[in-house]
Amino acid sequence: MDILKQISETLIDGDRDKTAHLTREALTQGIDPATVFNDGLSKGIGVVGERFGKGELFLFDLMRAAEAMKAAMHMLEPQLLGQKKQMITLGRFLIGTVAGDIHDIGKNIVSVMLRVAGFEVTDLGVDVKPQTFVGNTREAKADILGLSALMTPTLLEQKKVIDALVETGLRDQVKVMIGGAVVTGTWAREIGADSYAADAFTGVANARKLMAR
């Protein structure tokens, strides 16, 4: 089996160490990093997503595969820098839980589902201040900024981030999606978000829609 196929397989199995190891191998063999990503990792995660959609794999299989991909990306990232354009992704998605909120499980799940769908996802973690969101949006040239909030009071933080983007002149350069179980359409419209989602599936579907615009 050629090495790229092997990488896909170990990724599908959720074998973090093997996938990372094989990725390093592939690079040593002289295979183009972008090709390793597109034909090895991206392909594998695509299969995982398909099988999950069919009900053949569970969420934890998805998450384990995503961890394997993350570990492999560590190997690839330094080599990819010059080749970002050749990576086939749906878009760059920046995500984080807003300031004052430390819930992260929903954010983590949607991040994985986004990666599976083909997005390049950067996770800023929890309790993220508006300035950090803004700074990273600028630096990463994010296509979509995802703001996660689980608690009703922290909804206001989503507004703060959007306001900060307006202030720094970045608002029209990025699409903002707000997420969390308490997020509603009314709130999204009120604060000027481009999209919203109260669950991961809707989040991924809406992210695709945003990129299609």
């Binding site: 009900g55 569970f58 969420l59 934890f60 430390i102 819930h103 499980i105 799940i109 589902m113 608690m151 009703t152 009071p153 909804l155 206001l156 179980a181 308490v182 509603t184 009314t186 709130w187 669950d199 991961a200 599936f201």
Partner: protein, 477 residues
């Protein structure tokens, strides 16, 4: 102890020991400086940098000893007071919902202040809802103040006790002010707490600054606090029920230690909930049978410690009032009730607690009526065995006109208000409605007719001031 035992005495001890091990070896993170100091003083091992605390079994024991075994949940009207003690089971609705099923269209929409008012009045009117557990957060109010507005509406629209979820420590302060305005003084509020609150850590094993502060402030005021724990099984708790039981028990024990170290003898309630992550969707499921099993086990654990137990309850993942809603909530209400839970939560709630329905509330009141009857069991005494009656009536006779029948009917038999037992023709003549339609009529009646005793004009004025001040605080920050 209740009629139902999911866990044996040995099992309870096993879980207790497992939780002690978690607290002693894995530890818990508490993002609250003053509490960390207090815990260190009490002998816990504290890492001030990481905010991590290791709690010894001895400290847990001591704090369990300090926890008062019984307390009273007071209502604005003292006839609504509820004494919490072993063997007593009450029911309530949930706090935290944001949507409502529209009574006319049947579709879901965001809940407004008017909905909060109607939902509260309905809880006040319905016989088998023992006290109020919050109503939907009104979306037409400031997001950081929804708890305050919610409670203001509730204080005006019910005379039953109110258990709510503070959105922040400042929110708690404002609600306490509102409650104090109603009863008169802070001392009176301590003597007769007409509100109690619920808190929960972020599983696994992390108490946020706000949640810890809420526990501290409630304790200082003598307000009963329900210490919750809501791991999502498989995601923020172990995928096995036993593991998640040990985890949530550990989280609540940690809460007990926090509360008792900082405010000895503060009244507490034991409130674990165990939704699962559905691994096919990544969503938190509340209508699972595992939820009910864990609720029964949770009820047993709280009794093992001798403190109030508050369990869900009428939970379902159904989005509408259908058979799924009915079946899921009934399993999950009956299980903890039979296991001896003091409070069964969830009246009127659907869609894993996101959505309320007035019609569901009416139906749940009926269900709780059946539940209360179930808990009274089969009474066996001479009167009930009725041997003399059987003898009197004799072979071939009938019992209809015997005095015994007249004497005992109402006590022995629950009479539903909403569930229909009419013969088909009569039922058809009366409209041929299903129970949801029948509930809708009751909702209309309550909304139109039910009037709780209004608050004094002075109290209302004071509440206006309190809200105005609160608004200043929240809009400035």
């Amino acid at each position: 102890m209740g009629m139902l035992r999911i866990l044996s005495k040995d099992d309870l001890q096993k879980i207790h020991n497992a939780s002690l091990q978690i607290l002693r070896d894995t530890g818990i993170v508490i993002h609250h400086g003053r509490s960390l100091d207090g815990l260190a003083e009490a002998g816990a091992s504290v890492d001030h940098q990481k905010h991590k605390v290791l709690i010894s079994p001895e400290l847990v024991d001591e704090c369990l000893r300090r926890t008062p075994k019984f307390h009273t949940l007071a209502g604005r009207d003292s006839r609504r007071d509820l004494k919490i003690e072993a063997g007593k089971t009450y029911t309530r609705s949930a706090s935290g919902s944001i949507y409502i099923i529209d009574s006319e269209t049947g579709s879901r929409r965001e809940a407004s202040s008017i909905d909060a008012r109607n939902f509260t009045r309905a809880q006040d009117a319905l016989e088998n809802i023992s006290f109020c557990g919050g109503s939907p957060y009104p979306f037409d109010t400031h997001p950081a103040m929804r708890d305050i507005y919610q409670i203001r509406i509730m204080l005006e629209n019910t005379e039953k006790h109110i258990r709510f979820q503070p959105l922040s420590a400042k929110g708690l302060d404002c609600v306490v002010e509102l409650a104090r305005a109603v009863v008169g003084t802070k001392d009176e509020l301590k003597k007769r707490p007409i509100v109690s609150c619920v808190t929960a850590p972020v599983s696994p094993l992390v108490y946020s600054r706000e949640q810890t502060e809420i526990i501290m402030r409630s304790g200082a005021l003598g307000l009963p606090v329900m210490l919750g724990s809501t791991p999502t099984v498989g995601a923020t708790g172990p995928v096995t029920l036993a593991g998640s039981l040990a985890l949530e028990n550990a989280e609540i024990l940690a809460g007990i230690v926090l509360a008792q170290v900082m405010n000895p003898r503060s009244p507490l309630s034991y409130g674990p909930r165990m939704p699962s992550m559905d691994m096919r969707t990544g969503l938190s499921a509340w209508g699972t049978i595992e939820f009910g099993l864990a609720a029964a086990a949770g009820a047993q654990l709280g009794q093992f410690y001798g403190i109030e137990t508050d369990l869900y309850g009428a939970t379902s993942d159904a989005k509408v009032l259908d058979e799924q809603a009915a079946i899921e909530r009934t399993f999950n209400a009956v299980l903890p009730a039979l296991a001896g839970a003091n409070v069964v939560n969830g009246a009127g709630v659907l869609e894993s607690i996101l959505t309320v329905s007035l019609e569901q509330l009416v139906i749940d009141s009926e269900m709780f009526g059946m539940l209360f009857r179930l808990l009274r069991g089969v009474v066996l005494d001479e009167e009930k065995l009725a041997l003399d009656v059987i003898n009197r009536v004799g072979p071939g006779g009938n019992f209809l006109t015997d005095t015994h029948t007249k004497q005992h009917y109402v006590m022995e038999h629950f009479l539903p208000q909403v569930f229909d037992r009419k013969p088909r023709e009569v039922w058809e003549q009366a409209g041929g409605r299903d129970v949801v339609a029948a509930s809708r009529e009751i909702v209309t009646k309550i909304t139109r007719e039910h009037e709780p005793t209004p608050l004094d004009k002075d109290v209302v004025k004071e509440m206006d001031y309190i809200l105005r001040d609160a608004k200043k605080h929240f809009t400035q920050n």
